[in-house]
């Protein structure tokens, strides 16, 4: 019961703490908090998102790391703090497969 209530507290703070200066923020805070509570219950009871993070937790040794970092161009006046399509932390998304030897 206590742990159940703890998941309720979190989204409340999140949504309740949002800026109340704008009428939209005032009116949206309630429904957003309600949806977050529902999603929190769903995640805790059904656990569909839980898995063993084998990609970082398996026993693995890394050796002979060879790196190449070659500057190819300079771009000015780019907006946005992240590059488009960055995927360095999305380990489960596959990209084009290279055939390699060795």
């Amino acid at each position: 019961m206590i742990t159940d209530l703890m998941i309720l507290a979190d989204p409340m703070l999140l949504a309740g703490g949002s800026d109340g200066d704008y009428p939209f923020g005032v009116l949206a805070a309630g429904p957003i908090a309600g949806i977050l509570v529902y999603l929190g219950i769903y995640s805790r009871y059904r656990n569909k998102d839980k898995r063993y993070r084998f990609e970082s937790e398996s026993k693995v040794e890394v050796g002979n790391m060879m790196t190449r970092d070659a500057k190819i161009k300079h771009r000015r006046r780019v907006s946005g703090s992240r590059m488009g399509g960055a995927n360095e932390s999305r380990h489960l998304e596959r990209v084009r497969r290279m055939q390699i030897s060795g």
């Binding site: 949504a15 529902y38 059904r46 190449r68 907006s79």
Partner: protein, 461 residues
Amino acid sequence: MSHDVNGPGPQGERPATPGAPGAGPMGAGSGGPMGPGPGEPAGDGGPAAGQEPAASAEDLLAQVEEAAHPSGPTLEERTRIRKEHGLDKCPRCGSSDIAYDIPQRALVCSYCRYAFNEPNAHEAFGFTSPIQDLRGVTIGAGSEDIVEDQDVVTLKCQGCGADVVIKLEEQLQSRCHWCRQTLSINTQVPNGAVPDAVLPFLLSREQAVEKVKEFVGARRTFADRRFLRDFTPENVLGVYMPYLMVDANIHAELAGTGEDTVRTYTERVKVGDREETRTYYDVDVYQVARKFDLLVDDLATQSSTRYHRDRNESATNYVLRAIQPFDVEDALVYNSNYLTGHTSERRDLDIGDIDEEVVEKFLAIARARAQPTLGKYDRGVKWEAEGVSVRGARWVAVLLPVWLYSQYDGRLSHYVAVNGRTGQTMGSIPISQPRAIGASCLVATIVTVLAVGGGILSMFA
């Protein structure tokens, strides 16, 4: 790529068994006389078809000792010899009435009370040699082809269709570990492959019942009322789940682009009749490449169609995925007596069937291991190409212990699984929609009242 992982031998289908002609109306490779129905995957083929008559264990042992292997018997030979050596009897009195006793953590002869264990599988199979020395592919006998295990029987559950493996002498009282249906002796199907290794239970039934109670107890508030009413944690069943475990010596390569911020500045720009502050960045773009070796130790992949990732997105999948890892380095050489009192899921997937899944796991591991080398790219890295080549791998088929609680709510089965070694618990509990929606609406109302109230107050402040 697939060839690297599979090594010699055809993928996905079994080599025709020598001496198979006349094995039955369906012939070799199509399931044998008692073969599974047409809907079964090809990997199930032909286990019951005539095996080559096994030479005696002594002969095999002698053959191997004579053989001029510079490094001793191969992994396959080692596992095969153990299997055919008749190691299922009590070493002291020869009785075959043996069961695994969890408190003693040993096989115990019920006749003379002698307690013993099979040797550690890693040591017995030579898996303690360094992974970086692996070249080519070695496969434990149990990972490769189907050898009939005389001590177990596989029954098809009439309730849910699962293939459940049990000890021969227990077939009268066994239940399906998925749906609790009592299994019928009349639904026998060919056994899956004999495993190479087994990781016995450490957690007792009582401890597992406590874990299941604890897991559900912490989720009562919004649980479906009927589920709670019917909840019977004592129904938990001990199940051995089949996995294929691999050690691999891999070379990985990644290529892409990365961006590094060199200057950040803001400018005032006119938007219509308003001025806004915009942030801009000057960035260096790099071509990024990483090449490295990976030594992967004991990566386990499920090897039963029932919960294979591509075939069944049911609750069992994520529940079983979430209770890993297992301490597979402590697995013991397989002996069917470890199954006494438990059921086992039939392994019906080969290395060839899970090959692509395992290669993708290697790629994911490579990507995760490359990440710490990307510190300078504060704007991120976009990987565009990736590849692995497997220099060497060794495979072992292993049974891992799970305490499984299942309950059917009329529409879906819900499971709570407990890792039989570590006690790690995960499950799926049906939600009471009136309660969950009620709580969500209540919170929504409270937050709205607070926000509106706060807004009104702030107007007077």
